[in-house]
Protein backbone atom coordinates (compact mmCIF):
# COMPACT_ATOMS: atom_id res chain seq x y z
CA UNK A 1 0.00 0.00 0.00
CA UNK A 2 1.42 3.36 -1.05
CA UNK A 3 1.57 6.61 0.83
CA UNK A 4 -1.16 8.12 -1.32
CA UNK A 5 -3.56 5.68 -2.96
CA UNK A 6 -6.40 6.19 -5.39
CA UNK A 7 -8.79 3.27 -5.74
CA UNK A 8 -11.19 3.03 -8.68
CA UNK A 9 -11.61 6.78 -8.50
CA UNK A 10 -14.23 8.11 -10.94
CA UNK A 11 -15.88 11.43 -11.66
CA UNK A 12 -19.01 11.81 -13.75
CA UNK A 13 -20.28 15.24 -14.81
CA UNK A 14 -23.82 14.74 -16.08
CA UNK A 15 -23.43 12.21 -18.87
CA UNK A 16 -19.71 12.84 -19.31
CA UNK A 17 -17.25 10.60 -17.50
CA UNK A 18 -14.20 12.78 -16.85
CA UNK A 19 -12.27 10.18 -14.85
CA UNK A 20 -12.90 6.47 -15.04
CA UNK A 21 -11.71 3.91 -12.47
CA UNK A 22 -8.32 5.37 -11.76
CA UNK A 23 -6.03 3.28 -9.57
CA UNK A 24 -2.73 4.73 -8.49
CA UNK A 25 -0.35 4.18 -5.63
CA UNK A 26 2.29 6.80 -4.91
CA UNK A 27 5.22 6.09 -2.60
CA UNK A 28 6.45 8.59 -0.04
CA UNK A 29 8.85 11.14 -1.55
CA UNK A 30 8.01 10.12 -5.10
CA UNK A 31 7.51 12.63 -7.96
CA UNK A 32 4.69 11.43 -10.20
CA UNK A 33 3.37 13.23 -13.28
CA UNK A 34 -0.10 12.88 -14.75
CA UNK A 35 0.42 13.36 -18.46
CA UNK A 36 -2.20 13.69 -21.17
CA UNK A 37 -3.86 16.03 -23.65
CA UNK A 38 -6.42 18.55 -22.44
CA UNK A 39 -9.70 16.91 -21.46
CA UNK A 40 -8.11 13.60 -20.49
CA UNK A 41 -9.18 13.95 -16.85
CA UNK A 42 -5.77 14.65 -15.32
CA UNK A 43 -6.77 17.97 -13.74
CA UNK A 44 -10.03 16.51 -12.42
CA UNK A 45 -8.01 13.71 -10.82
CA UNK A 46 -5.74 16.27 -9.15
CA UNK A 47 -8.72 18.28 -7.95
CA UNK A 48 -10.25 15.17 -6.42
CA UNK A 49 -7.02 14.55 -4.51
CA UNK A 50 -7.07 18.19 -3.40
CA UNK A 51 -10.70 17.94 -2.33
CA UNK A 52 -11.91 20.65 -4.70
CA UNK A 53 -13.98 18.18 -6.73
CA UNK A 54 -15.97 15.43 -5.06
CA UNK A 55 -15.41 11.96 -6.54
CA UNK A 56 -18.45 10.13 -7.86
CA UNK A 57 -16.95 6.80 -6.86
CA UNK A 58 -13.79 5.39 -5.34
CA UNK A 59 -11.57 6.19 -2.39
CA UNK A 60 -8.49 8.28 -1.70
CA UNK A 61 -6.26 7.28 1.18
CA UNK A 62 -3.37 9.28 2.53
CA UNK A 63 -0.94 7.57 4.89
CA UNK A 64 -3.60 4.98 5.75
CA UNK A 65 -6.31 7.58 6.40
CA UNK A 66 -9.40 7.75 4.18
CA UNK A 67 -9.65 11.37 3.00
CA UNK A 68 -12.19 10.85 0.21
CA UNK A 69 -14.87 13.03 1.82
CA UNK A 70 -12.63 15.30 3.87
CA UNK A 71 -12.80 19.07 3.37
CA UNK A 72 -9.87 20.59 1.46
CA UNK A 73 -9.09 22.79 4.46
CA UNK A 74 -8.51 19.71 6.64
CA UNK A 75 -6.47 17.64 4.20
CA UNK A 76 -3.43 19.84 4.64
CA UNK A 77 -2.12 19.28 1.12
CA UNK A 78 0.01 21.86 -0.68
CA UNK A 79 -1.39 22.95 -4.03
CA UNK A 80 0.17 25.08 -6.75
CA UNK A 81 -2.50 26.28 -9.15
CA UNK A 82 -2.02 26.85 -12.85
CA UNK A 83 -2.76 30.57 -12.41
CA UNK A 84 -0.64 30.49 -9.20
CA UNK A 85 -3.69 31.94 -7.38
CA UNK A 86 -1.58 34.30 -5.29
CA UNK A 87 -3.45 36.69 -3.02
CA UNK A 88 -3.04 39.99 -4.91
CA UNK A 89 -3.61 42.19 -1.87
CA UNK A 90 -0.92 40.52 0.22
CA UNK A 91 2.86 40.77 0.03
CA UNK A 92 5.00 37.78 -0.85
CA UNK A 93 5.74 37.17 2.84
CA UNK A 94 2.05 37.46 3.78
CA UNK A 95 1.11 35.07 0.98
CA UNK A 96 3.57 32.49 2.22
CA UNK A 97 2.63 33.06 5.87
CA UNK A 98 -1.10 32.55 5.24
CA UNK A 99 -1.13 28.80 5.73
CA UNK A 100 0.93 29.07 8.93
CA UNK A 101 -1.40 31.76 10.21
CA UNK A 102 -4.35 29.43 9.62
CA UNK A 103 -2.48 26.80 11.64
CA UNK A 104 -2.02 29.33 14.45
CA UNK A 105 1.76 29.06 14.32
CA UNK A 106 3.26 31.66 16.68
CA UNK A 107 4.66 34.81 15.13
CA UNK A 108 8.40 34.22 15.67
CA UNK A 109 8.27 30.70 14.27
CA UNK A 110 6.06 31.81 11.41
CA UNK A 111 8.55 34.51 10.42
CA UNK A 112 11.41 32.07 10.66
CA UNK A 113 9.73 29.46 8.48
CA UNK A 114 8.60 32.03 5.91
CA UNK A 115 12.08 33.44 5.49
CA UNK A 116 13.56 29.96 5.37
CA UNK A 117 11.12 28.97 2.62
CA UNK A 118 11.69 32.19 0.66
CA UNK A 119 15.40 31.42 0.86
CA UNK A 120 14.79 27.97 -0.57
CA UNK A 121 13.01 29.41 -3.61
CA UNK A 122 15.57 32.24 -3.94
CA UNK A 123 13.10 35.03 -3.17
CA UNK A 124 14.44 36.26 0.16
CA UNK A 125 14.83 39.85 -1.07
CA UNK A 126 11.30 39.98 -2.49
CA UNK A 127 9.42 39.38 0.76
CA UNK A 128 7.81 42.81 0.86
CA UNK A 129 6.81 42.96 -2.81
CA UNK A 130 3.27 42.43 -4.07
CA UNK A 131 2.56 39.66 -6.59
CA UNK A 132 1.91 42.21 -9.37
CA UNK A 133 5.49 43.46 -8.97
CA UNK A 134 6.93 40.02 -9.75
CA UNK A 135 7.73 38.21 -12.98
CA UNK A 136 5.96 34.99 -13.95
CA UNK A 137 8.77 32.77 -12.70
CA UNK A 138 8.96 34.60 -9.37
CA UNK A 139 5.19 34.33 -8.87
CA UNK A 140 5.43 30.66 -9.54
CA UNK A 141 8.10 30.25 -6.89
CA UNK A 142 5.96 32.21 -4.40
CA UNK A 143 3.12 29.76 -5.12
CA UNK A 144 5.48 26.83 -4.49
CA UNK A 145 6.79 28.40 -1.27
CA UNK A 146 3.25 29.06 -0.07
CA UNK A 147 2.29 25.45 -0.69
CA UNK A 148 5.44 23.96 0.87
CA UNK A 149 5.72 26.12 3.98
CA UNK A 150 2.91 24.21 5.70
CA UNK A 151 5.03 21.04 5.26
CA UNK A 152 2.28 19.18 3.42
CA UNK A 153 2.42 15.40 3.13
CA UNK A 154 1.71 15.76 -0.59
CA UNK A 155 2.40 18.61 -3.02
CA UNK A 156 0.00 18.92 -5.96
CA UNK A 157 1.08 20.90 -9.02
CA UNK A 158 -1.48 21.83 -11.68
CA UNK A 159 0.31 22.66 -14.94
CA UNK A 160 2.81 24.68 -12.91
CA UNK A 161 5.02 25.69 -15.83
CA UNK A 162 2.49 26.30 -18.59
CA UNK A 163 2.32 30.07 -18.07
CA UNK A 164 6.07 30.54 -18.44
CA UNK A 165 8.02 31.18 -21.62
CA UNK A 166 10.09 28.36 -23.09
CA UNK A 167 13.47 29.27 -21.60
CA UNK A 168 12.11 29.91 -18.14
CA UNK A 169 10.06 26.74 -18.29
CA UNK A 170 13.18 24.68 -18.78
CA UNK A 171 14.97 26.40 -15.90
CA UNK A 172 11.98 26.01 -13.62
CA UNK A 173 11.73 22.28 -14.39
CA UNK A 174 15.10 21.68 -12.79
CA UNK A 175 14.37 24.24 -10.08
CA UNK A 176 11.16 22.41 -9.24
CA UNK A 177 12.99 19.12 -9.03
CA UNK A 178 15.73 20.66 -6.86
CA UNK A 179 13.17 22.08 -4.41
CA UNK A 180 11.24 18.84 -4.32
CA UNK A 181 14.42 16.83 -3.66
CA UNK A 182 15.55 19.14 -0.88
CA UNK A 183 12.27 18.94 1.05
CA UNK A 184 11.46 15.37 0.02
CA UNK A 185 7.74 16.02 -0.37
CA UNK A 186 5.65 13.48 -2.27
CA UNK A 187 4.63 15.35 -5.42
CA UNK A 188 1.99 14.89 -8.07
CA UNK A 189 2.19 17.11 -11.12
CA UNK A 190 -0.36 17.50 -13.88
CA UNK A 191 1.01 18.44 -17.28
CA UNK A 192 0.26 18.19 -20.98
CA UNK A 193 3.91 18.70 -21.85
CA UNK A 194 5.63 15.35 -22.34
CA UNK A 195 9.15 16.83 -22.15
CA UNK A 196 8.31 18.32 -18.76
CA UNK A 197 6.87 15.06 -17.48
CA UNK A 198 9.80 12.97 -18.73
CA UNK A 199 12.52 15.25 -17.43
CA UNK A 200 11.53 15.63 -13.79
CA UNK A 201 9.32 12.72 -12.76
CA UNK A 202 10.18 9.43 -11.10
CA UNK A 203 7.14 7.94 -12.76
CA UNK A 204 4.78 9.17 -15.43
CA UNK A 205 1.10 8.29 -15.59
CA UNK A 206 -0.41 8.69 -19.04
CA UNK A 207 -4.12 9.46 -19.15
CA UNK A 208 -6.37 9.13 -22.18
CA UNK A 209 -10.06 9.92 -22.11
CA UNK A 210 -10.39 9.58 -18.37
CA UNK A 211 -8.38 6.36 -18.05
CA UNK A 212 -4.83 5.66 -17.01
CA UNK A 213 -3.22 3.78 -19.88
CA UNK A 214 0.38 3.49 -18.74
CA UNK A 215 2.27 4.04 -15.51
CA UNK A 216 6.02 3.78 -15.96
CA UNK A 217 9.41 5.36 -15.44
CA UNK A 218 10.03 8.11 -18.03
CA UNK A 219 12.62 6.22 -20.09
CA UNK A 220 10.49 3.08 -20.16
CA UNK A 221 7.49 5.09 -21.27
CA UNK A 222 9.56 6.49 -24.09
CA UNK A 223 11.10 3.18 -25.13
CA UNK A 224 8.07 0.96 -24.54
CA UNK A 225 4.89 2.98 -25.11
CA UNK A 226 1.90 0.81 -24.28
CA UNK A 227 -0.49 2.29 -26.81
CA UNK A 228 -0.29 3.89 -30.23
CA UNK A 229 -1.51 7.09 -28.66
CA UNK A 230 1.33 7.17 -26.16
CA UNK A 231 3.94 6.44 -28.83
CA UNK A 232 2.85 9.49 -30.81
CA UNK A 233 2.17 11.70 -27.79
CA UNK A 234 5.48 11.05 -26.05
CA UNK A 235 8.29 12.13 -28.33
CA UNK A 236 8.30 11.80 -32.12
CA UNK A 237 7.64 8.47 -33.72
CA UNK A 238 7.75 7.14 -37.28
CA UNK A 239 5.02 4.70 -38.17
CA UNK A 240 5.52 2.62 -41.27
CA UNK A 241 2.47 0.71 -42.43
CA UNK A 242 3.55 -2.85 -43.15
CA UNK A 243 2.38 -6.43 -43.52
CA UNK A 244 3.65 -9.38 -41.49
CA UNK A 245 4.94 -12.01 -43.87
CA UNK A 246 7.19 -14.96 -43.21
CA UNK A 247 8.19 -13.86 -39.71
CA UNK A 248 9.09 -10.29 -40.58
CA UNK A 249 7.54 -6.96 -41.47
CA UNK A 250 7.33 -6.04 -45.11
CA UNK A 251 6.53 -2.72 -46.72
CA UNK A 252 6.77 -1.83 -50.41
CA UNK A 253 8.45 -5.18 -51.01
CA UNK A 254 11.22 -4.42 -48.51
CA UNK A 255 11.90 -6.44 -45.38
CA UNK A 256 12.03 -4.23 -42.29
CA UNK A 257 14.01 -5.37 -39.26
CA UNK A 258 12.03 -5.28 -36.05
CA UNK A 259 11.68 -6.99 -32.71
CA UNK A 260 10.33 -10.51 -32.89
CA UNK A 261 6.60 -11.10 -32.90
CA UNK A 262 4.30 -14.02 -33.45
CA UNK A 263 1.66 -12.88 -35.87
CA UNK A 264 -0.34 -14.64 -38.57
CA UNK A 265 0.92 -14.25 -42.12
CA UNK A 266 -0.60 -11.27 -43.93
CA UNK A 267 -1.54 -9.34 -40.79
CA UNK A 268 -1.54 -5.56 -41.21
CA UNK A 269 0.78 -3.93 -38.74
CA UNK A 270 2.71 -0.75 -38.09
CA UNK A 271 6.45 -0.57 -37.54
CA UNK A 272 7.34 2.16 -35.05
CA UNK A 273 10.83 3.67 -35.04
CA UNK A 274 12.03 6.76 -33.16
CA UNK A 275 13.74 9.36 -35.43
CA UNK A 276 16.96 9.29 -33.38
CA UNK A 277 17.30 5.50 -33.69
CA UNK A 278 17.55 5.63 -37.48
CA UNK A 279 21.06 5.58 -38.94
CA UNK A 280 21.68 7.83 -41.91
CA UNK A 281 24.30 6.56 -44.35
CA UNK A 282 25.60 6.96 -47.88
CA UNK A 283 23.20 5.80 -50.63
CA UNK A 284 23.02 2.02 -51.04
CA UNK A 285 24.52 1.15 -47.66
CA UNK A 286 21.39 0.78 -45.54
CA UNK A 287 18.04 -0.98 -45.70
CA UNK A 288 16.70 1.31 -48.37
CA UNK A 289 17.45 4.65 -49.95
CA UNK A 290 15.57 7.92 -49.82
CA UNK A 291 15.82 11.57 -50.78
CA UNK A 292 16.13 14.32 -48.19
CA UNK A 293 13.15 16.61 -48.89
CA UNK A 294 13.68 19.08 -46.04
CA UNK A 295 16.12 19.71 -43.24
CA UNK A 296 15.70 21.71 -40.03
CA UNK A 297 18.41 22.91 -37.70
CA UNK A 298 17.26 22.77 -34.08
CA UNK A 299 20.45 23.73 -32.25
CA UNK A 300 21.44 20.51 -30.54
CA UNK A 301 20.24 18.33 -33.39
CA UNK A 302 19.15 18.24 -37.05
CA UNK A 303 15.82 16.98 -38.25
CA UNK A 304 15.41 15.48 -41.75
CA UNK A 305 12.34 14.52 -43.71
CA UNK A 306 13.34 11.70 -46.02
CA UNK A 307 11.11 10.53 -48.88
CA UNK A 308 11.46 6.76 -49.18
CA UNK A 309 9.61 3.87 -50.88
CA UNK A 310 7.84 3.20 -47.54
CA UNK A 311 6.69 6.82 -47.15
CA UNK A 312 8.04 9.90 -45.42
CA UNK A 313 10.47 9.08 -42.59
CA UNK A 314 11.65 11.57 -40.00
CA UNK A 315 15.27 11.20 -38.94
CA UNK A 316 17.10 13.19 -36.30
CA UNK A 317 20.86 13.52 -36.01
CA UNK A 318 22.83 15.10 -33.19
CA UNK A 319 24.68 18.25 -34.16
CA UNK A 320 28.35 17.24 -34.32
CA UNK A 321 29.58 20.56 -35.62
CA UNK A 322 29.96 19.86 -39.34
CA UNK A 323 27.12 20.45 -41.79
CA UNK A 324 25.27 17.22 -42.62
CA UNK A 325 23.73 16.14 -45.94
CA UNK A 326 21.86 18.81 -47.87
CA UNK A 327 18.29 18.85 -49.12
CA UNK A 328 17.88 16.79 -52.27
CA UNK A 329 20.71 14.40 -51.36
CA UNK A 330 20.27 10.64 -51.76
CA UNK A 331 20.82 8.82 -48.47
CA UNK A 332 20.28 5.37 -47.02
CA UNK A 333 18.30 4.56 -43.89
CA UNK A 334 18.68 1.68 -41.49
CA UNK A 335 18.10 0.59 -37.93
CA UNK A 336 18.87 -2.38 -35.71
CA UNK A 337 15.95 -4.77 -35.14
CA UNK A 338 15.64 -3.92 -31.43
CA UNK A 339 14.94 -0.28 -32.26
CA UNK A 340 11.72 -0.99 -34.13
CA UNK A 341 8.58 -2.19 -32.40
CA UNK A 342 5.51 -3.74 -33.93
CA UNK A 343 2.31 -1.82 -33.24
CA UNK A 344 -1.28 -2.23 -34.35
CA UNK A 345 -2.11 -1.07 -37.87
CA UNK A 346 -3.35 2.50 -38.37
CA UNK A 347 -7.00 1.51 -38.87
CA UNK A 348 -7.17 -0.15 -35.47
CA UNK A 349 -4.96 2.43 -33.82
CA UNK A 350 -7.33 5.35 -33.92
CA UNK A 351 -7.20 5.75 -30.16
Amino acid sequence: MGFLTLQSLSKVFGDFTAVRDVDLSVAQGEFVSLLGPSGCGKTTTLQMIAGLVEPTKGTITLDGRDITREKPSRRGLGIVFQSYALFPHMTVAENVAFGLEMRKVARPERDRRVSEMLGLVHLASFAERYPRQLSGGQRQRVAIARALVIQPPVLLLDEPLSNLDAKLREEMQFELRRIQRSVGTTTIMVTHDQAEALSISDRVVVMEQGRMTQIDAPYRLYERPATAFISSFVGKMNRIEAVWRGGRAEAAGLGLPSEAASLPDGASIGVAVRPEKILLGAAGQGLFDGTVTSRFFLGSYWLFNVETPVGNVVVSLPNQGAEPVAEGALVSLGWPPESASIVAAAAGAAA
Partner: protein, 264 residues
Protein backbone atom coordinates in the same frame (compact mmCIF):
# COMPACT_ATOMS: atom_id res chain seq x y z
CA UNK B 1 -1.06 54.42 -29.97
CA UNK B 2 -3.61 55.65 -32.47
CA UNK B 3 -3.68 59.42 -32.83
CA UNK B 4 -6.85 61.45 -33.22
CA UNK B 5 -7.27 63.50 -36.39
CA UNK B 6 -8.37 67.16 -36.27
CA UNK B 7 -12.04 66.34 -36.88
CA UNK B 8 -12.08 63.72 -34.13
CA UNK B 9 -10.42 66.17 -31.75
CA UNK B 10 -13.02 68.82 -32.58
CA UNK B 11 -15.81 66.32 -31.99
CA UNK B 12 -14.37 65.23 -28.63
CA UNK B 13 -13.96 68.85 -27.56
CA UNK B 14 -17.61 69.56 -28.44
CA UNK B 15 -18.81 66.58 -26.40
CA UNK B 16 -16.74 67.65 -23.40
CA UNK B 17 -17.98 71.24 -23.77
CA UNK B 18 -21.57 70.02 -23.97
CA UNK B 19 -21.15 68.11 -20.72
CA UNK B 20 -19.27 70.78 -18.82
CA UNK B 21 -20.88 74.00 -20.09
CA UNK B 22 -24.07 73.85 -17.97
CA UNK B 23 -22.00 73.19 -14.84
CA UNK B 24 -19.76 76.14 -15.60
CA UNK B 25 -22.75 78.39 -16.22
CA UNK B 26 -24.40 77.36 -12.93
CA UNK B 27 -21.22 78.03 -11.02
CA UNK B 28 -20.87 81.46 -12.63
CA UNK B 29 -24.48 82.40 -11.93
CA UNK B 30 -23.96 81.48 -8.26
CA UNK B 31 -21.62 84.44 -7.92
CA UNK B 32 -24.01 87.04 -9.32
CA UNK B 33 -24.78 90.12 -7.20
CA UNK B 34 -28.14 90.50 -9.00
CA UNK B 35 -31.54 89.20 -7.92
CA UNK B 36 -32.12 87.29 -11.13
CA UNK B 37 -30.41 84.29 -12.70
CA UNK B 38 -27.73 86.05 -14.67
CA UNK B 39 -24.08 85.61 -15.41
CA UNK B 40 -22.12 88.20 -13.43
CA UNK B 41 -20.61 90.81 -15.72
CA UNK B 42 -19.44 93.69 -13.52
CA UNK B 43 -18.68 92.14 -10.14
CA UNK B 44 -18.74 88.88 -8.16
CA UNK B 45 -20.68 88.43 -4.93
CA UNK B 46 -21.02 85.75 -2.28
CA UNK B 47 -24.42 87.00 -1.13
CA UNK B 48 -26.30 83.97 -2.45
CA UNK B 49 -23.98 81.58 -0.63
CA UNK B 50 -24.59 83.54 2.55
CA UNK B 51 -28.32 83.34 1.86
CA UNK B 52 -28.24 79.52 1.94
CA UNK B 53 -26.87 79.47 5.45
CA UNK B 54 -29.35 82.12 6.60
CA UNK B 55 -32.23 80.12 5.16
CA UNK B 56 -33.61 77.98 8.04
CA UNK B 57 -34.37 74.87 5.93
CA UNK B 58 -31.47 74.16 3.62
CA UNK B 59 -28.83 73.16 6.15
CA UNK B 60 -31.01 70.58 7.99
CA UNK B 61 -32.11 69.19 4.62
CA UNK B 62 -28.48 68.85 3.56
CA UNK B 63 -27.71 66.84 6.72
CA UNK B 64 -30.86 64.80 6.17
CA UNK B 65 -29.71 63.90 2.68
CA UNK B 66 -26.18 63.16 3.83
CA UNK B 67 -27.41 60.79 6.54
CA UNK B 68 -29.96 59.22 4.28
CA UNK B 69 -27.48 58.57 1.46
CA UNK B 70 -24.83 57.21 3.85
CA UNK B 71 -27.27 54.83 5.54
CA UNK B 72 -28.98 53.75 2.32
CA UNK B 73 -25.67 53.05 0.56
CA UNK B 74 -24.24 51.16 3.54
CA UNK B 75 -27.33 49.02 4.12
CA UNK B 76 -27.59 48.30 0.43
CA UNK B 77 -23.95 47.11 0.32
CA UNK B 78 -24.64 44.88 3.33
CA UNK B 79 -27.58 43.33 1.46
CA UNK B 80 -26.09 43.20 -2.02
CA UNK B 81 -22.78 41.50 -1.19
CA UNK B 82 -24.29 38.28 0.21
CA UNK B 83 -27.05 38.35 -2.42
CA UNK B 84 -24.56 38.74 -5.26
CA UNK B 85 -22.37 36.02 -3.75
CA UNK B 86 -25.31 33.60 -3.63
CA UNK B 87 -26.47 34.41 -7.15
CA UNK B 88 -22.95 34.19 -8.57
CA UNK B 89 -21.86 31.00 -6.82
CA UNK B 90 -24.90 28.81 -6.38
CA UNK B 91 -27.58 27.34 -8.59
CA UNK B 92 -30.81 27.20 -6.63
CA UNK B 93 -34.52 27.37 -7.46
CA UNK B 94 -35.71 30.95 -7.77
CA UNK B 95 -32.21 32.22 -8.53
CA UNK B 96 -33.16 34.06 -11.73
CA UNK B 97 -36.29 35.34 -10.07
CA UNK B 98 -34.26 36.74 -7.18
CA UNK B 99 -31.78 38.34 -9.55
CA UNK B 100 -34.66 39.98 -11.39
CA UNK B 101 -36.21 41.18 -8.15
CA UNK B 102 -33.01 42.87 -7.05
CA UNK B 103 -32.62 44.65 -10.37
CA UNK B 104 -36.30 45.53 -10.88
CA UNK B 105 -36.15 48.96 -9.16
CA UNK B 106 -34.08 50.08 -12.17
CA UNK B 107 -37.04 49.45 -14.46
CA UNK B 108 -39.95 50.62 -12.29
CA UNK B 109 -40.42 54.41 -12.64
CA UNK B 110 -39.60 56.22 -9.40
CA UNK B 111 -42.89 58.05 -9.69
CA UNK B 112 -44.81 54.76 -9.51
CA UNK B 113 -42.63 53.55 -6.67
CA UNK B 114 -43.22 56.83 -4.81
CA UNK B 115 -46.99 56.61 -5.07
CA UNK B 116 -46.97 52.94 -4.07
CA UNK B 117 -44.75 53.51 -1.06
CA UNK B 118 -46.79 56.55 0.03
CA UNK B 119 -49.86 54.35 0.06
CA UNK B 120 -48.03 51.55 1.89
CA UNK B 121 -46.60 53.87 4.53
CA UNK B 122 -50.02 55.39 5.12
CA UNK B 123 -51.47 51.89 5.56
CA UNK B 124 -48.89 50.77 8.11
CA UNK B 125 -48.83 54.18 9.79
CA UNK B 126 -45.22 54.88 8.93
CA UNK B 127 -45.72 58.15 7.08
CA UNK B 128 -42.92 60.59 7.69
CA UNK B 129 -40.63 58.10 9.42
CA UNK B 130 -36.94 58.50 8.59
CA UNK B 131 -36.33 54.76 8.91
CA UNK B 132 -38.87 54.00 6.18
CA UNK B 133 -37.40 56.74 4.00
CA UNK B 134 -34.05 54.96 4.33
CA UNK B 135 -35.72 51.65 3.44
CA UNK B 136 -37.26 53.12 0.29
CA UNK B 137 -33.90 54.52 -0.77
CA UNK B 138 -32.24 51.15 -0.13
CA UNK B 139 -34.69 49.66 -2.62
CA UNK B 140 -33.78 52.05 -5.42
CA UNK B 141 -29.99 52.07 -4.92
CA UNK B 142 -29.50 48.33 -4.44
CA UNK B 143 -29.51 47.51 -8.19
CA UNK B 144 -26.45 49.71 -8.69
CA UNK B 145 -24.54 48.00 -5.91
CA UNK B 146 -25.68 44.58 -7.15
CA UNK B 147 -24.41 45.25 -10.66
CA UNK B 148 -20.96 46.36 -9.53
CA UNK B 149 -20.53 43.66 -6.91
CA UNK B 150 -21.73 40.96 -9.33
CA UNK B 151 -19.23 42.20 -11.91
CA UNK B 152 -16.48 42.05 -9.28
CA UNK B 153 -17.42 38.45 -8.38
CA UNK B 154 -17.53 37.39 -12.02
CA UNK B 155 -14.15 38.95 -12.77
CA UNK B 156 -12.35 37.44 -9.81
CA UNK B 157 -10.04 34.45 -9.94
CA UNK B 158 -11.75 31.75 -7.91
CA UNK B 159 -8.57 29.76 -7.51
CA UNK B 160 -7.27 32.26 -4.92
CA UNK B 161 -10.19 31.25 -2.71
CA UNK B 162 -9.50 27.58 -3.35
CA UNK B 163 -5.86 28.15 -2.51
CA UNK B 164 -6.82 29.78 0.79
CA UNK B 165 -9.16 26.92 1.55
CA UNK B 166 -6.53 24.28 0.92
CA UNK B 167 -4.19 26.23 3.20
CA UNK B 168 -6.63 25.60 6.03
CA UNK B 169 -8.94 28.62 5.99
CA UNK B 170 -12.61 28.21 6.93
CA UNK B 171 -15.31 29.57 4.60
CA UNK B 172 -15.75 32.68 6.70
CA UNK B 173 -12.00 33.30 6.87
CA UNK B 174 -11.73 32.87 3.11
CA UNK B 175 -14.43 35.49 2.62
CA UNK B 176 -12.97 37.92 5.14
CA UNK B 177 -9.30 37.58 4.19
CA UNK B 178 -9.44 36.81 0.46
CA UNK B 179 -12.81 37.37 -1.24
CA UNK B 180 -13.76 40.69 0.37
CA UNK B 181 -10.40 42.40 -0.30
CA UNK B 182 -10.44 41.12 -3.87
CA UNK B 183 -13.90 42.52 -4.64
CA UNK B 184 -13.26 45.75 -2.72
CA UNK B 185 -13.22 47.88 -5.91
CA UNK B 186 -16.72 46.60 -6.72
CA UNK B 187 -17.93 47.28 -3.20
CA UNK B 188 -16.54 50.82 -2.95
CA UNK B 189 -17.68 51.63 -6.48
CA UNK B 190 -21.14 50.31 -5.69
CA UNK B 191 -21.29 52.26 -2.44
CA UNK B 192 -20.31 55.49 -4.20
CA UNK B 193 -22.88 55.01 -6.96
CA UNK B 194 -25.54 54.19 -4.38
CA UNK B 195 -24.62 57.23 -2.31
CA UNK B 196 -24.78 59.57 -5.29
CA UNK B 197 -28.08 58.11 -6.49
CA UNK B 198 -29.67 58.40 -3.08
CA UNK B 199 -28.32 61.90 -2.50
CA UNK B 200 -29.67 62.96 -5.87
CA UNK B 201 -33.06 61.21 -5.79
CA UNK B 202 -36.05 63.54 -6.16
CA UNK B 203 -39.05 61.88 -7.82
CA UNK B 204 -39.73 59.20 -5.26
CA UNK B 205 -38.59 61.28 -2.28
CA UNK B 206 -41.21 63.94 -2.98
CA UNK B 207 -43.84 61.34 -2.05
CA UNK B 208 -42.19 59.70 0.92
CA UNK B 209 -40.59 62.62 2.78
CA UNK B 210 -42.37 64.51 5.54
CA UNK B 211 -41.64 68.06 6.73
CA UNK B 212 -39.10 66.64 9.22
CA UNK B 213 -37.33 64.44 6.71
CA UNK B 214 -37.20 66.68 3.63
CA UNK B 215 -34.05 65.91 1.62
CA UNK B 216 -31.95 68.48 -0.16
CA UNK B 217 -33.24 67.75 -3.68
CA UNK B 218 -36.84 67.92 -2.44
CA UNK B 219 -36.07 71.17 -0.60
CA UNK B 220 -34.53 72.64 -3.74
CA UNK B 221 -37.47 71.51 -5.82
CA UNK B 222 -39.98 73.05 -3.41
CA UNK B 223 -38.00 76.27 -3.28
CA UNK B 224 -37.69 76.47 -7.05
CA UNK B 225 -41.41 75.99 -7.63
CA UNK B 226 -42.04 79.16 -5.58
CA UNK B 227 -39.24 81.43 -6.63
CA UNK B 228 -36.34 81.28 -9.01
CA UNK B 229 -33.38 83.18 -7.66
CA UNK B 230 -29.60 82.70 -7.81
CA UNK B 231 -29.63 80.89 -4.46
CA UNK B 232 -30.49 77.71 -6.38
CA UNK B 233 -27.36 78.21 -8.44
CA UNK B 234 -25.35 78.74 -5.27
CA UNK B 235 -26.66 75.47 -3.76
CA UNK B 236 -25.83 73.68 -7.00
CA UNK B 237 -22.35 75.18 -7.07
CA UNK B 238 -21.77 74.03 -3.50
CA UNK B 239 -22.86 70.50 -4.36
CA UNK B 240 -20.59 70.43 -7.39
CA UNK B 241 -17.71 71.63 -5.23
CA UNK B 242 -18.45 69.02 -2.55
CA UNK B 243 -18.64 66.16 -5.07
CA UNK B 244 -15.49 67.27 -6.85
CA UNK B 245 -13.73 67.61 -3.50
CA UNK B 246 -14.83 64.13 -2.41
CA UNK B 247 -13.64 62.63 -5.72
CA UNK B 248 -10.30 64.40 -5.36
CA UNK B 249 -9.80 63.10 -1.83
CA UNK B 250 -10.76 59.57 -2.90
CA UNK B 251 -8.43 59.73 -5.87
CA UNK B 252 -5.55 60.91 -3.70
CA UNK B 253 -6.23 58.38 -0.98
CA UNK B 254 -6.98 55.26 -3.02
CA UNK B 255 -6.94 56.16 -6.70
CA UNK B 256 -10.30 56.34 -8.47
CA UNK B 257 -9.14 53.85 -11.11
CA UNK B 258 -8.47 51.31 -8.42
CA UNK B 259 -11.78 51.84 -6.64
CA UNK B 260 -14.06 51.95 -9.66
CA UNK B 261 -12.21 49.91 -12.25
CA UNK B 262 -10.09 47.69 -10.08
CA UNK B 263 -6.86 48.51 -11.91
CA UNK B 264 -3.75 47.74 -10.01
Amino acid sequence: MHKNGPIALLFHSLVVAFVLAPLVVVCLVAFTPENTLSIPTTSFSLRWFAAIFQHPDFVPSFYNSLWLATLAATISVALAVPAALAIDRYRFPGRDWLNGLFLSPLIIPHLVLGVALLRLFALIGATGSFAWLVASHVIIVTPYVMRLVMAAFTGMDRSAEQAAETLGASHWTVFRRITAPMILPGITGGWLLAFINSFDELTMSIFVTSPQTVTLPVRMYMYATESIDPMMAAVSALMIALTAGAMLVLDRAFGLDKILVGQK
